[in-house]
Every structure is written in structure tokens, then in C-alpha cells.
């Protein structure tokens, strides 16, 4: 038996078997794809569904963002989003604050993080260069979209409204601007072409477009209903409903024919805005040439477009006339010593040309006391689907141009901080602790920053006049609430945590009661307490601005959560630590200060950061009690008539801000956790 086995298995290798490359699908990108995307049938289906989902999301977003969204709502309210209604005079202080923070983070980077690689430096430089280069390229290559204006004497009724073309329209021009006019023949061939009148347009042009579009849609609907009625796919109920609907529909008019559009010549005159002196005039014929005027100076101009004879309408295709945003506000008062008003600038009327942010403070042109209507942003909304070029020239370029200088300055501040850190280390740090100097200075700067923030924003004494806390808003207020919440709740929270672990039953009971009470109720109820009950405790407190009351509420609230986190950290410290501290003679307070608390705090850094992210997000609730933090100001922004209903844009924008800050915080926390500082410094060098 054994012999036969041996005779069967007598294969002997005389040579080493050669090392072979693994099969194609065992390593490399193909293998990765198979293992991670198509490991089973279900997996493959999920992958395809996922791809479809991502494509759907991205295309929907891009279509909306490029074609539809009114990003002016974000671009023009940037200041409000950032600082709320802060006095203009205090703006530079916020800028200084931002620079200090940037410098501090650069220093912190040098102190605790890995050295910046050459790659990162180059990439940053390239990005900044791109930010500076792209806007001029866009404005050179892609022209701004023109505007469609309607001239003529026939009234248009849409629904219950009857409109007539305005003969005069004021607009803001700059020296050297070329304004052109021509009759837009190609747009008024028929209703189908009129439906595609996508650009800036005055109300009447838009009404014509909308009427044409509705008419065409009605025709489509009639055909659809007829087809449905002819089919067998309807329930009885549906059939009745559709027949009813068909009975309700009135056959629409053909717009181009009804209003005899672009049949007659139009007289166009361009007037100087202040004096109404004519600059140039021309009669535009259908199918005729372009009439072009070069403006001599900055200021108001008026275009006059009339139809001399006959009855009809004409759609003019113009360039150089852009929507204008009207702002009216009180310029901040300057306060002298002792707080008396030195100068009061009073009401300011500003007209901002939306395409280039040119600000004009001259009054609106008027004709014998009646104001000449100007191209307001409300009326001159961009209508219809926007092509990519218009998106780039209207929003993308201006956005980058707006960001370029601040980004450059901030990056420089970070770089300075980083270099300062490196320099300090090479000069002052002892050999065994090569980063001691930068770490110490970064710590001090980070500790000082909140105080600096308060001093800079709120103001002290003569150099920095006091600002009105009711005007703090936007990201600034959100940040202040968060930072004050963190700093303020820290000592209280730590005390509460120690109190809850105390051996003294009364202290323990009181602290436990406080913590559990606060943690059991929603933040909003604590905010309401701050808003409603705080003034009741002392009449003087009712004068305290909402921002301060919200800060107090935030501290009261987050102290309880912080206490629980710290308590968790204290519990994780082995009891031997305390015993050892006692054994070398430290008293209770010294034991807490030097032994247990530092270790507990290090252990709970991730939990604390998580809590602070929560706090940062929760500050949005102050919007409910009427503060204008990032969320509150957004509600105010979308309530302006100019940007009414542009909620998607505004909320998307602030969501990105919230996300970036929260994500960066959690990223830093994960880095700290991974670097082991939380794990009792076991591996620190």
C-alpha cells in the first residue's frame, strides 16, 4: 500500500520553481476595481447605481448653478455674510483680527505639524496665481451679456396686468464704455425664437418671452391631452378631468404677430444723465445696423427709445446697460472723546453696477421732478437658462476677483507665521526640545487671540471706538459666540466636573443637578431663558444687547456638556496617579492642577473638539431669538426685495462655510488623536 503510494507520488523538483508575476487581476488598478467595485453581482449593481446617482447630482447641480442660480445674492451680500451690519469704520479691525488668526495658525503649524513640503508651496502659489490671472482672462475673452429692451407704443396684457414700454431708461456708465443698440431681428422671428430670449431684459421683454413660452406650452399641452384622450390608458375619472381641462384652456395668441414685433423703426437717443443733454441719436431700422455710442465720463445716462409712427413693439438688443443695485444706509457716526458725535454722515444713497461693482453716489436722473426709471436689479434679473460664458463673466470671474486680494494677504500672513515659528525655533529652542520656542509662542498667541478678538471687535477707549453689539453679525458673530462659548464654559465646566466627582455630597449634588438639568433641555430653551428671564433678574440686564445675552446662554449651556466630557477624562485617569501625587506631598488642589486635570484634558481633546463643533453649529439657533449670525443674516438677505427667494444660493453658501469650519476642526482633532497626544503622550518626542 505504502509502496504503491510512493510510486504514485514520486515527482521531485530538481530546480527551484521560478518566481512568477501574480495573475493580472491580483494586483494593480484592475484588481482594485474588481475588489472594490465589482466583487459580486450586487456590488456591481450598487456601483452602477452609485455612478448614476453621482452623475445625476453633479449634472443637476451644475445645470442649476450655471444656468439658473442668482449668485448675485451671495456676491453682493458678502459683507453681510462676513460681518453682518458692523460699522464701516470698524472693518479694518476685523481685517487685522483675521490676519492675526492667520499668523497664529501659521505659527501653530510650524509648532505642531509636519514641515510644509515643496509641493504644497508650489501648489499654493499656482492656485493664487490662477486666482489673479483668471478674472482678467475671462473679462477679455468672454463679453458680458447684453440686455433686451422693448420700445414701442402697444400695451401688452398678460393675465390681469397691462404693461407699456418705458420711453426713457436711466443707466450707469463709465468713461470709455461702448453702448450699442440694434433691433434684435433674430429673436422675434416667431414665438419659438422669442421663447429663447435669455439674458438681462426689462420687464416687458420678459413678459413677451413668458407669454410666448406659455403659449407654446399650452399648444403642447393641448396635443398631449388629445393624445391621451385618444388612448386607452385613462381611468374614467382622469378622462373627465382631462376633458374639463381641455374645456378650460383658451387657445393662446401668437405673440410676434399680435404685437407686430420688430416691424417698425425706432428712434434711439442717448442723454447725459444729470443735464439730459442729448449725446447721440439714431433711427434703428429692422434688419439695420448697430448704433454705437462711446460714453465720455462716469455717471448716469439715459436712453430714450421711441417709435415715431405706427403701432407696434420692437425688441432692442443692447450692450453696456447693466442692472443696478440701490443701497441706502446710514454711514456710521464718528464718536469723539466722551462719546459725543463728531460727525454724522447721514443717509447715503448708493447705486452699484452689478457687473463690475462700480459704486455711484450721484442722485438718480429725473425729468421735471419725476425720477426716470433705471435698470434695477429686480427688473433686470437674468432670465432664462444662462450659457456657460455668461456664468463665467457674471459670477465666476467677479468671485475670483473678489477673493484674490484677501486670499493672498491671508496666505502671506500664514506664511509669515510659519516662518516666524521656524526662525524662533532655530534661534531659541534648546536641542532636546527643538520646537519649544514656537510651541510656547503659538500657545500664548492662541490664548491671547480671543481677548484680542474681543478688544478689536468690541473696541476700547479712544483708539478703538466702541462698536454697537447689535450690529455684529454674520460669520463674525458666529465665531464670537463660539469662541466666547468655548472660553467661558471652560473654567465653569471644569469646576462642575470636579464638583461632580467631589467627595463632598452637597457640592456633588448641586453640580450633578446643574449638569443633568441643562443637558436635559434643548439649547433653544436656554437661549429663551437668556432672552426672557435674564432681564427679569435685574432691570439693568434688559439693556444688555442680545449678543451678550446669547453668549451667557451659550456659556451656561455648553458648560454642562464640557463638564461631562471632562468628567469622562478624569475617570479615565488611573487612581494610582492621584496616589502618587499625594505620596510626594502635593495637596488636593496641586494634584488636580498638575496631575489629573492636564492628563484628563489631553485624553478628552477629541471629545472636546466634537463638542466645540456642535457648539459652532448650535450658535445658529441664535437666529431664532433674533440675532443676525450667519444663519440669521441669511434670512435677512433673502428677505431683501432684490434677492427675494434666492434661498438656495444663500443657504448653500453658508452651508459651505459651516461645513468648512466644522470639517477643518474635526480634521485637526483627528490629527491630534492620531499623533497620540490624547493617548497620554506615550510616543511624544
Amino acid at each position: 500500500m505504502a509502496a504503491s503510494n510512493q510510486s504514485k507520488h514520486n515527482i521531485v523538483y530538481f530546480e527551484e520553481p521560478p518566481t512568477k508575476a501574480p495573475p493580472l487581476l491580483a494586483v494593480g488598478p484592475l484588481a482594485w476595481i474588481r475588489d472594490n467595485l465589482f466583487s459580486s453581482w450586487l456590488d456591481a449593481i450598487l456601483t452602477f447605481l452609485g455612478i448614476a446617482f453621482i452623475i445625476a447630482i453633479i449634472t443637476t447641480f451644475l445645470q442649476w448653478s450655471i444656468g439658473d442660480a442668482n449668485w448675485f445674492a451671495v456676491l453682493f451680500n458678502m459683507r453681510q455674510f462676513m460681518v453682518g451690519r458692523l460699522e464701516v469704520l470698524a472693518e479694518w479691525r476685523v481685517a487685522v483680527l483675521v490676519l492675526i488668526v492667520a499668523f497664529a495658525s501659521g505659527l501653530a503649524w510650524a509648532a505642531w505639524s509636519a514641515r510644509i513640503s515643496r509641493m504644497v508651496i508650489v501648489a499654493t502659489a499656482v492656485i493664487i496665481a490662477l486666482i489673479f490671472v483668471i478674472p482678467p482672462i475671462i473679462s477679455a475673452v468672454v463679453p458680458l451679456p447684453g440686455a433686451y429692451l422693448v420700445a414701442g407704443n402697444q400695451s401688452v396684457s398678460a393675465g390681469s396686468l397691462t404693461q407699456v414700454a418705458q420711453d426713457q431708461l436711466a443707466f450707469v456708465g463709465r468713461s470709455g464704455d461702448k453702448v450699442t443698440f440694434r433691433i434684435a431681428d433674430e429673436i422675434a422671428v416667431n414665438d419659438q425664437s422669442l421663447e429663447n430670449l435669455f439674458s438681462f431684459s426689462d420687464n416687458l421683454a420678459n413678459t413677451l418671452r413668458a407669454t410666448a413660452a406659455t403659449g407654446l406650452a399650452t399648444h403642447v399641452r393641448i396635443d398631449e391631452i388629445n393624445a391621451l384622450l385618444a388612448s386607452e390608458d385613462l381611468t374614467e375619472r382622469q378622462r373627465t378631468n382631462l376633458e374639463n381641462e381641455l374645456g378650460r384652456i383658451e387657445p393662446p395668441l401668437t405673440v410676434t404677430e399680435t404685437y407686430s414685433i420688430n416691424q417698425l423703426p425706432v428712434l434711439v437717443r442717448v442723454l447725459e444723465g444729470a443735464t439730459l443733454e442729448p449725446l447721440a441719436e439714431a433711427t434703428l431700422e429692422p434688419g439695420g445696423d448697430v448704433f454705437s455710442v462711446t460714453l465720455p465720463s462716469d455717471g448716469w445716462y439715459v436712453v430714450e427709445k421711441t417709435m415715431a409712427e405706427g403701432e407696434g413693439l420692437a425688441i432692442l438688443d443692447t450692450t453696456g446697460i447693466y442692472p443696478i443695485l440701490h443701497r441706502s444706509f446710514t454711514r456710521g457716526e464718528e464718536l469723539g472723546e466722551g462719546g459725543e458725535v463728531v460727525s454724522e454722515a447721514g443717509r447715503v444713497e448708493q447705486f452699484v453696477r452689478m457687473t463690475d461693482n462700480y459704486v455711484l453716489e450721484a442722485p438718480q436722473p429725473s425729468n421735471n421732478g419725476t425720477d426716470i426709471p433705471y435698470s434695477t436689479i429686480i427688473e433686470f434679473k437674468y432670465r432664462g437658462l444662462r450659457p456657460l460664458g455668461d456664468y463665467l463673466s457674471l459670477f465666476f470671474g467677479p468671485l475670483l476677483a473678489m477673493l484674490s486680494t484677501p486670499v493672498l494677504v491671508i496666505v502671506i500672513a500664514i506664511a509669515l507665521g510659519y516662518t516666524a515659528g521656524l526662525l524662533a525655533d532655530s534661534l531659541f529652542s534648546p536641542a532636546e526640545k527643538p520646537r519649544k520656542a514656537s510651541q510656547q509662542s503659538a500657545t500664548w498667541l492662541l490664548i491671547a487671540t480671543p481677548a484680542l478678538m474681543f478688544i478689536l471687535v468690541a473696541g476700547v477707549g479712544d483708539i478703538l471706538p466702541l462698536t454697537d453689539p447689535r450690529r455684529w453679525g454674520g460669520l463674525l458673530l458666529t465665531m464670537m459666540l463660539t469662541v466666547v462659548g468655548i472660553i467661558g464654559s471652560f473654567p465653569i465646566g471644569v469646576l462642575l466636573a470636579l464638583g461632580r466627582r467631589s467627595s463632598l455630597p452637597v457640592v456633588k449634588l448641586v453640580c450633578t443637578l446643574y449638569i443633568e438639568l441643562v443637558r436635559g433641555v434643548p439649547f433653544i430653551s436656554v437661549l429663551f431663558m437668556g432672552a426672557l428671564l435674564l432681564p427679569l433678574t435685574n432691570p439693568a440686564l434688559s439693556e444688555v444687547p442680545g449678543a451678550y445675552r446669547a453668549m451667557i446662554a451659550t456659556i451656561i449651556f455648553s458648560a454642562a456638556y464640557l463638564a461631562e466630557n471632562v468628567r469622562g477624562g478624569l475617570q479615565s485617569i488611573p487612581p494610582g496617579q492621584e496616589e502618587a501625587a499625594k505620596a510626594i506631598g502635593l495637596n488636593g488642589l496641586q494634584t488636580i492642577m498638575f496631575i489629573t486635570l492636564p492628563q484628563a484634558l489631553r485624553a478628552v481633546i477629541p471629545a472636546l473638539v466634537g463638542m466645540f463643533i456642535g457648539l459652532f453649529k448650535d450658535t445658529s439657533l441664535v437666529a431664532i431669538v433674533g440675532l443676525i449670525d450667519l444663519t440669521g443674516i441669511t434670512n435677512a438677505v433673502v428677505a431683501q426685495t432684490e434677492f427675494l427667494g434666492d434661498r438656495r444660493e444663500a443657504f448653500l453658501f453658508i452651508s459651505i462655510i459651516y461645513f468648512v469650519f466644522s470639517y477643518v476642526m474635526s480634521y485637526v482633532s483627528r490629527r491630534i488623536e492620531a499623533s497620540g497626544a490624547g493617548a497620554a503622550m506615550a510616543k511624544r518626542i
Binding site: D35, N36, L37, S39, D43, L46, T47, G50, I51, F53, I54, E232, D233, L234, T235, R237, Q238, T240, N241, N244, R248, S503, L504, P505, V506, V507, V510, L517, R519, G520, V521, P522, F523, I524, S525, F528, M529, L532, L533, L536, T537, N538, P539, K617, D618, S620, L621, I624, T631, N635, R647, R648, F651, I654, S655, Y658, F659, S662, Y663, S666
Partner: protein
């Protein structure tokens, strides 16, 4: 013995250096300071409130509220008291929280599992879901759900209906394919042990369907024309199917396959010659869900007067199933004989449910019923009363043979035929939906992370050990991974539940009438802010306490089970 020497004379008497005395003194001082501070506060508040003639009390709760509530039960009017208004608010809060807890748990578990998926894409999408939701404020999300999503829903006249109304056509042809599929399974599966046969099987099924579809779609206008290109294609597909089957298969498999292919050929011919035209049946489909800016309309579920009797049957079935489960389980344990107890238990439940449904329907309905016609009570045949819509809500429940009535939303249209609303529908307001969606989706992101961390916390060695003693995947999951994971998951999950409950107070921001919003209105009207805030806090504390208690019970059960 040595003398006890004092280290130094001190002016502080010895008892003041005793740590026990010091502790007591410290606590007394602490208490005195606390009481002083609190009494100062309370006195200040009292003084101010007395000046405004608003001494805190609870009696104001009996005053008429005088405000309307958007989301209310039928009995509430503005003449009801503040207390009753508050009760409405509490009900609304509980409606959101209870549904929200269940939904967010399910969604959270789903995404938690996705986060652990082997599929990179799925994992990445879920990671993005979690990060985006966790890192933006709930309030902003709620605003988005309400002001953006809910506000962009269509007007009620153009309400989105699901499923779409219409007459659905179900072709007989489709049934044929089902028959082919099952025939293939039945006859070929037992033999299909090797790859070629399995290929032949797949091929046979696919060619049958392709051939029949070809015959049906492309031939009708040329019935009987044997030279038609489509017909040739169809014939070719059939013949190739036949040849492949013939050469791949041998012996006892040939004839069944031949039968299938022949049947397929025959089916195609029947279509081709119009013997089996597009025959089928039509089914009226009515929408069950309508979505519009005014809210969501769902089918109404109405327990009738016979519901209780049926519920008794169901309960008996459940109890019996429980007893069987336990009894058979014990038999299996003692004798080792395996009894499919799950199947028996299920059978008991289904049997009693169905039997109960039929039995409670046996009692006939009266043919003549009294109805209120223009103020006078008259007897009229039930059917007639029903068609004339004269039955009151009470009557509808009374005159039904079924224990539960499920009615689709009935469209209400004005004279012009425009949709204006719904009857017999469970209506849900957009405010409720926005709050629910916001809370559920926001919290689910946190729960997903908790579930992921919990499952990952079970050491890999546990799974390997379980597999090494021969447990199946399901058993490993059920008996080893889940109990250990749940021990890690439940405490933070409790926190998330508490957060959801507390966050429901953000209803205020989107004007959903929860207890917070109603109490805010009450405080504004009555000026009783101290009492109001106290009541609110007690309300949320109670809710938090109940959730904590329940979750602690669950937690302790898992701790016990796993030990």
C-alpha cells in the same frame, strides 16, 4: 511610647484643622453662597414681575388661549384653554419624536452598514452623506427642507401623484415569460450541475424571450409574410437556440430542452399569426400618495367597529405563536429533534389573522339603514346611502364587514374640475414633514457613525473564533458580533435619541406647532415667561428621562445577555 509632639503651635485651633470639620464647613459655606445667589435672583425676578403685575402662577393655564394652531386635532378651537393648547403641542412633539426615532434608527443603521461596505463607491458616498450632514447646522438643514424643498413642491392643482393615475396594461405575454422561467427552473435545474448545461439553460430562457418579443413587436403589420426580415431573424434565433441546445446537451436532457425550444417556437408563431395578439387586461390604478405644497396626502387607515374582534384573533395567533416558539424550542433543546418552529409560528399568526378577517366579516350588514337626510332620519338601502354619500363617519365604521378600511385619498375638485383638496386622506403638513425629514436625516448621520464604530469595535478575532467553532455567517452576526457591538452602540445611541427629542424644539423655526412653539406663543400672550419656561423645561426633562430610562433598560438587558 513616644510623646506626640505638635510640629508647631498654631493660632488655628485643632478642630479647625480636622479635614472632616473642614469639609463640613466648606459645604456649608458653599450652600450659603448658593442660596444667597439664588435668593437674590429670585427676589429680583419677583420684584420685577410684581411691578408688572405678573406674579408667576399656574392658574393662567385655564384662561382661553385665543390663538389658532396650524397642526391640531379636530376638537381644538381658539376658545380652548392654554393648557389644552399646550396638550396639542405635546401631542405634536410626540408625533414627531416617536416617528423620528424609529425612522432615524433604520436610516442610520442602513448608512452605518454602507460605511462598512466593501464597495468603495458606496462607502465614499455614505461617507460624504455623513460628513456633510454632521458638519452643517441642523437649523440650516431645517430651513433648507422647509423653505427650499417643501416650498418648491407644486401647487395642489398640480400635485405629484404616486403611483400615477391611469389604466395599466398587463400583457399576457409577460405571464408567458414567467411560465418559461419557472419551467426552466423546474426541469433543467436538477441536471444543471456543469457549466455547459447552465449556459444552455440561460441561453434557452433568453432566446425564448427575445424570439417572442421579436415576433410580437416587429411582425404585426406583416402577419403571415414568411419572407419578412424580422420573421427571418426570429426564426434564426429559434433555430440557433435549438441547435445549441441539441449539441450541448445529451441523454435525458435533450428532450425537455427540445420541448422548451419547441414551445418557444410555437409561442412565437402564435404571436406571429395574430392568434395571440397583444392580449392582456387593463387595471385602473389610482394614486395612493399626493404631494403638493399644502402637504402630503396618504391613504387613510380606519379601524371599524369590527376591529376589536379581529384584534382578538390576531392576539390569540400571536400568543399561540409565542407558545409554540418556546415549546418547540424546548423540545429541540431536550431531544435534539429539529422542528421548524419559525414556520409554525408564522403559520399560526397568518392563519389567525386571515381566519379572523374572514370570520368577523360573516355577520351580514343591514340592508336598510337610518340616515340623516336634510335633518330628518329616514331608512334607506345601505348601497344607496353609500352612493349618495349620506353616511356619517360613525356610520362608515359601523356598516363595514372589514375590520380595517384602507381608503385612497379622494380628490376634491371645484366646479371647474381643478383639484382643491382631498377627502378620506391622512394628511401630513409640510411643516411636519420638513421637521421630521430634517431631524431624521441629520440624526441618522450620527447614528451611522455610531453603528460603524460599534461594529468595528468587535475585534476581528471574535469573528474568526466564531467561524472556527463552525458558526455560520448569520449565526456569527447574530450571536457574536451584534451583542458585542450593541453594547458599544447603545450608550451613544441613547445620546442621539435624546438629541433628536431636544432638537424637535427647532420646530419653532419653521412654525410647526410643537410644545415649544405653543408655549412661546402662550408666553408672549400671557407674559408668564417664568412659568412658561419652567413648564417647557419640565416637559423636555420628562421626555429625556423617559428615553434614558427605556434605553438604560435595553442597555442593561444587553449587558446581561452578553455576560
Amino acid at each position: 511610647m513616644s510623646a506626640i509632639s505638635q510640629p508647631s503651635r498654631s493660632i488655628i485651633p485643632a478642630f479647625l484643622r480636622d479635614s472632616r470639620v473642614l469639609q463640613v464647613i466648606g459645604q456649608i459655606i458653599f450652600l450659603i453662597l448658593l442660596v444667597l445667589a439664588l435668593s437674590q435672583l429670585v427676589a429680583g425676578v419677583n420684584e420685577q414681575l410684581q411691578a408688572k403685575n405678573l406674579t408667576p402662577n399656574f392658574s393662567f393655564l385655564n384662561n382661553p388661549a385665543g390663538f389658532d394652531i396650524g397642526e391640531k386635532p379636530d376638537w381644538y378651537t381658539r376658545d380652548n384653554t392654554y393648557l389644552e393648547a399646550f396638550i396639542v403641542g405635546v401631542t405634536n412633539t410626540l408625533r414627531v419624536v416617536s416617528v423620528g426615532l424609529v425612522a432615524t434608527t433604520l436610516l442610520g443603521i442602513l448608512f452605518g452598514i454602507f460605511l462598512l461596505s466593501n464597495n468603495w463607491l458606496l462607502r465614499t458616498i455614505s461617507r460624504a452623506y455623513v460628513e456633510i450632514l454632521r458638519n452643517t447646522p441642523l437649523l440650516v438643514q431645517l430651513f433648507a427642507w422647509y423653505f427650499i424643498v417643501m416650498f418648491s413642491l407644486p401647487q395642489i392643482r398640480d400635485a405629484i401623484a404616486f403611483p400615477q393615475e391611469g389604466r395599466a396594461f398587463i400583457a399576457v405575454r409577460l405571464l408567458l415569460y414567467v411560465v418559461v422561467y419557472f419551467a426552466m427552473r423546474r426541469y433543467v435545474r436538477p441536471f444543471s450541475v456543469d457549466a455547459p448545461r447552465r449556459i444552455a439553460l440561460t441561453y434557452g430562457t433568453i432566446t425564448t424571450i427575445v424570439a417572442a418579443e421579436l415576433a410580437f413587436h416587429f411582425l404585426p403589420e406583416s402577419y403571415g409574410d414568411l419572407t419578412n426580415v424580422s420573421f427571418l431573424a426570429y426564426a434564426a434565433v429559434s433555430i440557433v437556440g435549438f441547435v445549441v441546445a441539441w449539441f450541448y446537451l445529451h441523454g435525458n436532457l435533450r428532450w425537455p430542452i427540445l420541448g422548451v425550444v419547441g414551445g418557444q417556437f410555437l409561442a412565437g408563431l402564435l404571436f406571429y399569426f395574430g392568434v395571440l395578439p397583444n392580449s392582456g387586461f387593463r387595471l385602473d390604478v389610482y394614486p395612493a400618495i399626493y404631494i403638493s405644497i399644502r402637504g402630503f396626502a396618504f391613504p387613510e387607515i380606519l379601524p371599524t367597529n369590527r376591529f376589536v374582534a379581529w384584534a382578538v384573533f390576531v392576539t390569540v395567533g400571536l400568543v399561540l405563536a409565542g407558545i409554540m416558539w418556546g415549546y418547540f424550542g424546548r423540545i429541540t433543546e431536550t431531544t435534539g429533534r429539529v422542528i421548524p418552529r419559525g414556520r409554525y409560528a408564522l403559520l399560526a399568526i397568518i392563519g389567525f389573522t386571515v381566519a379572523g378577517w374572514l370570520l368577523v366579516g360573516i355577520e351580514p350588514l343591514p340592508t336598510q339603514v337610518p340616515v340623516d337626510q336634510d335633518g330628518t332620519i329616514v331608512l334607506m338601502p345601505l348601497e344607496e346611502a353609500r352612493t349618495q354619500d349620506l353616511l356619517s363617519a360613525e356610520d362608515v365604521r359601523l356598516y363595514s364587514t372589514q375590520p380595517i378600511l384602507l381608503t385612497l385619498p379622494q380628490e376634491r375638485r371645484n366646479r371647474g374640475g381643478v383639484l382643491t383638496g382631498f377627502n378620506n386622506a391622512t394628511q401630513i403638513s409640510p411643516e411636519y414633514m420638513a421637521l421630521l425629514l430634517g431631524l431624521v436625516i441629520y440624526t441618522s448621520a450620527f447614528i451611522a457613525e455610531i453603528v460603524r464604530a460599534g461594529i468595528q469595535a468587535v475585534p476581528r478575532g471574535q469573528i474568526e473564533a466564531a467561524r472556527s467553532i463552525g458558526l455560520s455567517t448569520a449565526q456569527t452576526l447574530n450571536m457574536i458580533v451584534l451583542p458585542q457591538a450593541l453594547r458599544v452602540i447603545i450608550p451613544p445611541l441613547t445620546n442621539q435619541y435624546l438629541n433628536l427629542a431636544k432638537n424637535s424644539s427647532l420646530a419653532l423655526a419653521i412654525a410647526f406647532a410643537d410644545m415649544f412653539q405653543i408655549m412661546t406663543t402662550t408666553m408672549n400672550q400671557s407674559g408668564q415667561s417664568v412659568t412658561g419656561i419652567t413648564i417647557i423645561m419640565i416637559g423636555y426633562l420628562t421626555m429625556s428621562l423617559v428615553i434614558s430610562l427605556v434605553m438604560n433598560l435595553v442597555n442593561s438587558r444587553f449587558q446581561l445577555v452578553t455576560r
